[in-house]
């Protein structure tokens, strides 16, 4: 019988009070406990970035974090990016540039890309590549992803 622990945190600007098993990961809590299926499970060991979310303003792999470690923290998932019914500019850029193929890696990619731009609004294309190195797309769509991020930071599209 697993130990249950009480947990309070902020999820996409709303308070959450919930009891979770001690060994639950943040990813499991989001997907199964809170029914937010936007954040994806893929490798489960931090290599692919599909489960990327923002915790206290920094992106992390939610599959590698204990849910109970969220106590008192602020979390943003892909569901929290949209403003009303309008897509977030980063989401819109991904749509406009056809950066989405199967779409499975997108929530993580978009959260990470948005974080990079927040950190450095004058991101170069090389810095984008380094910044997205923890997000793997198996449809082979990186060029259009970089084009989308470049459009958000106002760089001209350069296919390289």
């Amino acid at each position: 019988m697993s130990v249950k622990i009480k947990l309070d945190f902020t999820l996409n600007s709303r308070p959450v009070n919930i009891e979770v098993p001690a060994e639950m990961t943040v990813l499991n809590l989001l997907r199964d406990g809170l029914d937010l299926k936007g954040t994806k499970y893929a490798c489960g060991e931090g290599e692919c970035g599909a489960c990327t979310i923002e915790v206290d303003g920094r992106t992390i792999n939610s599959c590698l974090m204990m849910a109970v470690d969220l106590q008192g923290r602020e979390v943003m998932t892909i569901e929290g990016m949209q403003e009303g019914h309008a897509l977030h500019p980063m989401q819109q850029a991904f749509v406009d540039h056809g950066a989405v193929q199967c779409g499975f890696c997108m929530p993580g990619m978009i959260i990470q890309a948005n974080y990079l731009v927040k950190q450095n609004p004058e991101l170069t294309r090389e810095e984008m590549k380094r910044g997205l190195e923890g997000n793997i797309c198996r449809c082979t769509g990186y060029t259009k992803v970089l084009d989308a991020v470049a459009a958000v930071v106002g760089l001209n599209e350069r296919r390289n």
């Binding site: 019988m1 697993s2 130990v3 622990i5 098993p21 001690a22 060994e23 639950m24 990961t25 990813l27 499991n28 499970y41 489960g44 060991e45 931090g46 290599e47 970035g49 990327t52 920094r58 992106t59 992390i60 792999n61 599959c63 590698l64 974090m65 204990m66 109970v68 470690d69 106590q71 990470q112 990079l116 380094r130 910044g131 190195e133 923890g134 997000n135």
Partner: protein, 331 residues
């Protein structure tokens, strides 16, 4: 693996006092505990059942251990400082740029946002047989590292050997910290102490650190070397996410002496020195270091790269790192 299979308890003490009350409680009740800081190395090991504690004690509540401070000719780094904070810190960029470079070469941005410097110097030694999924590991019998009776790398190994397990030391930040004569502050149930970072590392892949169970690292004290130049080079298949197949940190002191520290090539890091003679860095100095480094190296087939290639790359990477600092010395 979506979640660890075995149930365990979790606690996040906010002060050192709370931490040690909890540790004492666990020891009294005979509950197996492990510490977790960023958790990025612990979680995969929990999921693949390499670790199976009764309770995970998270250190992330100890906020006081998350800081970087310059004190005289030392930089004090709190053990809970994340690698991304380390990379972007002004003092680190100014006085220890090669450390920032090494930290930046660890894993991915998401992992660096969570992983701590304390965790990186304490990272568990790795082997291509043990760091696998349970399904993969089922195909061979348990090795020494998890209490079994065989080493799949060194078939002749037997209990009683000096080095029982050949799991590799893979920290990216430790080599440079070793060259900077770093010390670590340790706190434990018996009190606190300061030891040389070099004394933290032991020969065997199982008991690879001298930290006693229940002790934690609180700070790392790094010496700033006047007029020195340093660099870190890392061999990996991919530019991101890989542990070093080999890593070389090089440091040139103000007096021209050169030191090199290696990671990924043995159960512990190695440090080698060459003294400056006749006021010029000679090829003999570099050859001498390369020889010592090759003698130190134990390359079993533990990596994507063939062992022969990895062995050849030792001298190449040492030369590459030293040349980089010599170029810096000229400019």
């Amino acid at each position: 693996m979506t979640a660890p299979k075995k149930d365990f308890d979790f606690a996040r003490p906010k002060t050192i006092e709370q931490l040690y009350n909890l540790v004492q409680e666990c020891q009294h009740e005979g509950r197996q505990f492990i510490f977790s800081a960023g958790g990025t190395d612990i979680m995969p090991n929990l999921k693949s059942e390499i670790l199976s504690p009764d309770i995970v004690i998270s250190l992330t509540g100890l906020r006081a251990l998350n800081n970087i401070e310059k004190q005289g000719d030392h930089i004090i780094i709190g053990a809970l400082t994340s690698l991304s904070e380390l990379c972007s810190n002004n003092n680190i960029q100014k006085y220890l740029p090669a450390l920032a470079r090494a930290a930046h070469k660890v894993a991915s941005p998401q992992i660096r946002n969570r992983a701590t410097i304390g965790g990186n110097i304490m990272v568990e030694n790795r082997c291509s047989y043990i760091n696998q999924s349970p399904i993969n590991r089922e195909s061979h019998s348990p090795c020494f590292k998890i209490g079994g009776d065989v080493c799949h790398l060194v078939k002749s190994a037997k209990r009683g050997d000096d080095i029982l397990c050949q799991a590799r030391f893979v920290s990216d930040t430790a080599p440079l910290l070793l060259l900077q004569n770093s010390t670590v502050n340790i706190i434990g149930p018996a009190g606190s102490k300061e030891i040389k970072l070099a004394d933290l590392y032991l020969n065997d892949g199982i008991e690879s650190k001298s930290l006693m169970h229940g002790e934690i690292i609180t700070h790392i004290k790094v010496e700033i070397t006047e007029n020195s130049l340093s660099h870190y080079e890392k061999l990996t298949i991919r530019n991101a996410l890989d542990f070093p197949s080999l890593g070389v940190a090089a440091l040139r002191r103000g007096n021209g002496d050169i030191s090199v520290a290696l990671t990924g090539l043995n159960t512990r890091p190695g440090v080698f020195h060459a003294k400056l003679e006749n006021h010029e860095t000679s090829d003999d100095m570099i050859v001498d270091i390369c020889r010592k480094a090759n003698d130190f190296t134990v390359t079993y087939q533990q990596d994507f790269f063939p062992r022969g290639y990895r062995k050849n790359m030792i001298s190449v990477f040492i030369r590459r790192a030293i040349n980089k600092i010599l170029e810096g010395a000229k400019s």
